[in-house]
Amino acid sequence: MDSTPRGFWARLDRAVELFLHYASAALLLTIAALVLYVVLMRYFFAQSPIWGEDVPRILFIWMTYLGIAVATKRGQNLRVTFILEKMPARPRLVLELAMHVIVVVMIAVIAWHSWPVIQLNMGMRQLSTGWSQAVSYIPFTLAAVLMIIYTLQLMLKAVRDYQAGLYAPGQTGGGH
């Protein structure tokens, strides 16, 4: 087993990514099963569980933000690169890094302001489930921390791609 810190962090990084990936997959399958259960209960037994909409909705928010963290890590968020790809290597790197910095700062500011929202909702309970309303607001804050880490990783990757010569005009490699 590789016990160097670099190996450990790389493994941890991979393990967290896989956990997020499979957790979001499991949440989606659970949502599908719950929604179908509600339809069947209503159609065949004329009764719908009281949580029929709320639980799938909350799981959907969790799935969304765990999935966004993975998408950020893999550089899968939707973006337009045709101008970037036509730029010379150095200005392109500078622009890429500047945009990543803006995103990191923006996510950090939003996450900072999401904390009072969580605290405010902590004591409120949902009628259908009895769960704290904060359950819906936690996923964004959690994902924000991950997105900041992953965007910083993308910045490092952009520098490495630039050094490896992948930023020549017309190249689609680098950055994302």
Binding site: H21, Y22, S24, A25, A26, L27, L28, L29, I31, A32, V35, L36, V38, V39, Y43, E53, P56, R57, F60, I61, M63, T64, Y65, L66, G67, I68, V70, A71, R74, Q76, N77, L78, R79, V80, T81, F82, I83, L84, L95, E96, M99, I102, V103, M106, V109, I110, A111, H113, S114, P116, V117, S136, Y137, P139, F140, G175
Partner: protein, 428 residues
């Protein structure tokens, strides 16, 4: 002034390569900081509340149904059915591309998913038969624009979450316009292929047609079950999406026996992430839309349009031009979230049916899927065929014009959109 800065930040940062969701977020944050009268907490709340709607849960479920459909080999079966009927006509496999997309639209709810699924199978095959890859890619990219018009449709689900319009009526309303789109694109394909003498497939024998139909029968039933459950009042659109997932699972696990746990988990993972990417854009667009209301974007836009003309037909023309241009340079989700509430309010005031408006808006945005610079269907096909986007667009120009003609027809003949929903689900 603040509104202008907000729009400029959005467009400039989207075009220079910031992730589109965050470019929208950045424009919103710029407005909040510069205006000084909106707390940043509202943005933090919006990140959750923008996606906190049960109706949106249907979107990943429809995408999952499409993913599973591909894994179960449904795409190939539907292509075989289309091939048996139209492969021998002028256009050959290009016709098959048009009609396979038409049928696929009845199961999947996304233009991109249909473009990727049919393009992966058909473009290499068409290239082997001698079709130029730029033409093959252009046909598939254009044919896939019918995806969100024919039900089910994740774009209609999103629209139903934004404005007060029945998703069931939208679904039924898309049937006739979608059919007209496919017939028109079929006619263009037939004409071009005849002129250029592109290859045709041998005419299928009666037995081949029967086999293709039998083989694809369970897949062909899918649209009826999915749309039927929603329109028949058995399920809401979100629930209909879950029905779609389990029907496709039934096909893959029980009927075709080519799907196992591994594929199901793989499809769920891919879908969850693809849906999350859309939802991040929904969340930041939702915040932007709230701020746009505060900044009176609706009043400014409608006043500007009315200053040109107060005639409803002219306003509809302006609306179409604006949507076509925006569809070329922006992603669909922010356009819907920001502008649908504004324009629906304006035109419903003139007596237009929201289903008709939804059809016009979505068709405009679909045409944007095959026009540079942000024509996502062109990007998908470019990744498959390695043909440049501009080269492909040159071949897609006739399809662009025929789709604009269909748009004109649908805009000024509301009957085409409304006849079926008025019959099946009369408006409240």
């Amino acid at each position: 002034m603040l509104l202008t800065i907000m729009m400029a930040v959005l467009i400039i940062f989207s075009l220079i390569g910031m992730e589109i969701a965050w470019a929208i977020g950045f424009a919103s944050m710029a407005y909040i900081l510069l205006s000084g009268n909106v707390p940043l907490v509202q943005m933090a709340q919006g990140m959750t509340e923008g996606v906190d709607q049960f109706i949106l849960v249907g979107i990943p479920l429809f995408i999952l149904a499409g993913e599973l459909m591909n894994m179960a080999g449904v795409t190939q079966r539907l292509i075989a059915v289309a091939s048996a009927f139209v492969g021998h006509l002028h256009g050959g496999l290009a016709n098959v591309g048009v009609w396979a997309n038409f049928i696929m639209s009845g199961i999947s709810g996304s233009s991109l998913a249909d473009a990727a699924a049919t393009g992966t199978v058909l473009v290499p095959e068409m290239t082997r038969r001698g079709f130029p890859p730029a033409f093959s890619s252009a046909v598939i990219a254009s044919a896939a624009t019918v995806g969100p018009i024919i039900p089910p449709s994740i774009i209609f689900v999103l629209l139903g979450a934004i404005v007060d319009v029945s998703i069931g009526r939208l679904f039924i309303g898309g049937l006739l316009p979608g059919f007209i789109m496919s017939v028109s694109m079929f006619a263009v394909t037939w004409y071009i292929c005849r002129k250029r003498n592109y290859p045709r497939e041998p005419k299928a024998t009666f037995t081949q047609v029967r086999v293709a139909l039998w083989d694809g029968a369970a897949a062909l039933l899918a649209p009826i079950i999915i749309v039927g459950s929603i329109v028949g009042g058995i399920a809401t659109p979100t629930e209909g999406a879950a029905v779609a997932v389990f029907y496709v699972l039934f096909l893959g696990v029980v009927v075709y026996r080519n799907i196992g746990w591994k594929q199901i988990v793989e499809a769920a993972g891919t879908t969850a992430i693809a849906s999350s990417v859309i939802m991040l854009t929904v969340a930041t667009s939702w915040i932007f839309a709230q701020l746009a209301v505060l900044a009176q974007l609706g009043v400014i836009l409608t006043d500007a349009m009315k200053s040109i003309s107060e005639e409803p037909w002219a306003l509809l023309l302006l609306f179409n031009i604006l949507m076509l241009i925006l569809g070329m340079i922006m992603e669909i989700v922010p356009i819907l979230l920001i502008l649908a509430p504004i324009f629906f309010k304006l035109f419903v005031g003139f007596g237009y049916d929201p289903v008709h408006l939804g059809m016009i808006m979505v068709l405009n945005l679909m045409i944007g899927m095959i026009t540079p610079p942000i024509g996502l269907n062109l990007f998908v096909l470019s990744a498959i065929s390695k043909v440049g986007v501009i080269e492909m667009f040159k071949e897609a120009v006739p399809y662009f014009f025929i789709l604009v003609a269909v748009l004109g027809l649908i805009t000024y003949v509301p009957w085409i959109t409304l006849v079926l929903p008025d019959l099946v689900i009369p408006a409240r």
